[in-house]
């Protein structure tokens, strides 16, 4: 008897020891709403490096204003983190005006920056607030290798239409169903590819698959350093299918205190596309920590 309890007790000790070491990692944030000042803002991010970097920048800017922040990064796709945002598991997420608007409303007009922002604000649930957008844009794209572009004389997505039935398109798995993915491409451009191959979120799988010919066209982010490094060709988007994609902080209204809003809008005011691409390169190519790159940028821009 003693031995059994001993066994259990020791396991328990081991568990609680490790629990102490990490400051109760099993604690979950309470659902949104509640008191105003002195509360914690939980910053989330999607599952690609740029989103994590932006989340770190937001977190750093909020911390600089004395706001308590925790991060929950790398939460899969919009389809997962938006419910988490709605139910208060996270409070703040870096978003892109056009893509988020299309996610919320498949027919949203995202053709230019103003339209995308207006569509997003109109489509957002009442509990969420889109703050000021930044000048920085990172768009989804259809990209091809130089060889493919030459072979079919491709410069725009429209040029793909006659050849699409012979080509395989690659993209993140969620593209299969998204209005901003395969169904939308068919609707807007009449593109019907031979097949769609689910890859990752414009990460190493996508780059490898393009390079070794598993797919002939793929979704890459326009800020991705891999485009230049591999000589990929980003096809023009004459119908503005991918629309305007300004980086924008989206926050739970209950947590949008004036200080928090000021801090986040401060970030948006300083961020532009080239800067964003440079920062992403530091994280993805130079393998710097997103948190370090974020801190450095905040400091250089007087936001820390």
């Amino acid at each position: 008897m003693k031995k059994i309890t001993g066994l259990l007790a020791l396991t328990l000790v081991a568990v609680s020891l490790s629990a102490c070491a990490s400051g109760n990692p099993l604690a979950t944030p309470t659902a949104g709403g509640g008191s105003a000042a002195g509360q914690t803002i939980v910053v989330g991010s999607a599952n690609f490096p740029e989103s994590e970097l932006l989340a770190e920048i937001y977190a750093g800017a909020l911390k600089a204003k004395g706001i308590t922040v925790t991060t929950k990064l790398n939460i899969a796709s919009r389809e997962t983190y938006v419910p988490a945002l709605k139910n208060g598991e996270i409070d703040l997420i870096p978003e892109y005006t056009g893509a988020f608007a299309k996610y919320l409303n498949a027919d949203a007009d995202t053709s230019d920056e103003a339209a995308a922002l207006a569509s997003l604000r109109a489509a957002l649930p009442a509990t969420l607030q889109a703050l000021e957008p930044s000048a920085a844009q990172d768009k989804d794209s259809i990209s091809v290798t130089q060889a493919t572009a030459d072979k079919y004389s491709l410069t725009s997505i429209e040029d793909l239409v006659p050849y699409a039935p012979e080509l395989v398109l690659g993209g993140p798995p969620e593209w299969k169903e998204r209005a901003a993915g395969v169904p939308g491409l068919e609707k807007v451009y009449g593109l019907r590819f031979k097949a769609f191959k689910p890859l990752d979120v414009a990460g190493p799988l996508t780059v490898q698959a393009l390079k070794n010919g598993q797919v002939q066209a793929a979704n890459l982010f326009t800020t991705d350093p891999a485009i230049k490094a591999n000589g990929f060709v980003v096809l023009d988007d004459p119908k503005s299918f991918f629309g305007a994609q300004n980086v924008i902080p989206v926050i739970t209204k209950a947590k949008a205190t004036p200080e928090a809003v000021a801090a986040l809008n401060g970030v948006s005011a300083k961020l532009d596309t080239d800067m964003l691409a440079t920062l992403v390169t530091k994280v993805v190519v130079d393998k710097a920590d997103a948190s370090d790159v974020a801190a450095e940028w905040l400091k250089a821009n007087g936001l820390s």
């Binding site: 568990v15 990752d200 780059v207």
Partner: protein, 214 residues
């Protein structure tokens, strides 16, 4: 190596979370498996449904179990409790059979001797049967511990931070260092669990060290 030295804090805290996520289900699973294993051993009719039934749980892929847990538990999508409960299910699946086999490994004459000494049913179970079943249960527990450590890392695909986050982070940036550190940390953690269980088993079974060097 440099990456590891520069990220000791991060690796340490991820490892601690990982340890909790992997060990809490071990404890909960053991506590649930003991009565279930006892039932399976005690009542012949229940044996097959219990052992086959819990064994079936093991065939559910972990990723699916993590994702579907919120529907069952009403928890949030990012709640680590999803992982703990899912792994508890796996641990129970592994241990019900082990506990039942462990109890079956106790010789009948020992039980009769205990009864003859006037020990009641309940205290016989706790004082004789369960302690004697410890070596077999411990073997199952070791398998469950190692398996839990590996499965927890899958939860990184859902944004629940632990050592598996090093895999997803490294992968997204085509960067091997964090992934390799994460793998080594997982192996180290599994080893610690294993040694801990072996040590606890030794403490719990002093009779095995007396006399014959088994």
């Amino acid at each position: 190596m440099n990456w590891f030295l520069g990220h000791l804090d991060e690796v340490g805290s991820l490892m601690a979370t990982h340890a909790v996520l992997a060990s809490a289900p071990l404890l909960a699973g053991l506590l649930l498996a003991i009565p279930l294993g006892w039932l399976a051993r005690r009542y012949r009719v229940l044996r097959t449904p219990l052992i086959v039934g819990t064994g079936l749980l093991y065939t559910i892929p972990s990723l699916a179990l993590f994702i579907l847990m919120p529907l069952v538990l009403g928890t949030g999508i990012l709640d680590p409790l999803n992982v703990v409960v899912a792994l508890t299910v796996y641990t129970v699946a592994l241990l019900v059979r082990t506990v039942s086999d462990g109890l079956a490994s106790v010789p009948e004459d020992v039980l009769q001797a205990a009864s003859a000494m006037g020990i009641g049913r309940v205290s016989r179970f706790f004082k004789v049967e369960l302690p004697l079943a410890v070596p077999v249960i411990s073997a199952g527990l070791r398998v469950a511990a190692v398996s839990n450590v590996s499965i927890v890392s899958v939860a990184a695909l859902l944004g629940i931070a632990q050592l598996g986050s090093l895999f997803t982070d490294g992968f997204a940036r085509n960067y091997l260092d964090p992934i390799v550190v994460g793998i080594l940390a997982c192996i180290a953690l599994a080893l610690v669990f294993d040694l801990l269980i072996v040590a606890l088993t030794k403490v719990a079974t002093p009779w095995l060290r007396v006399g014959s060097p088994a």
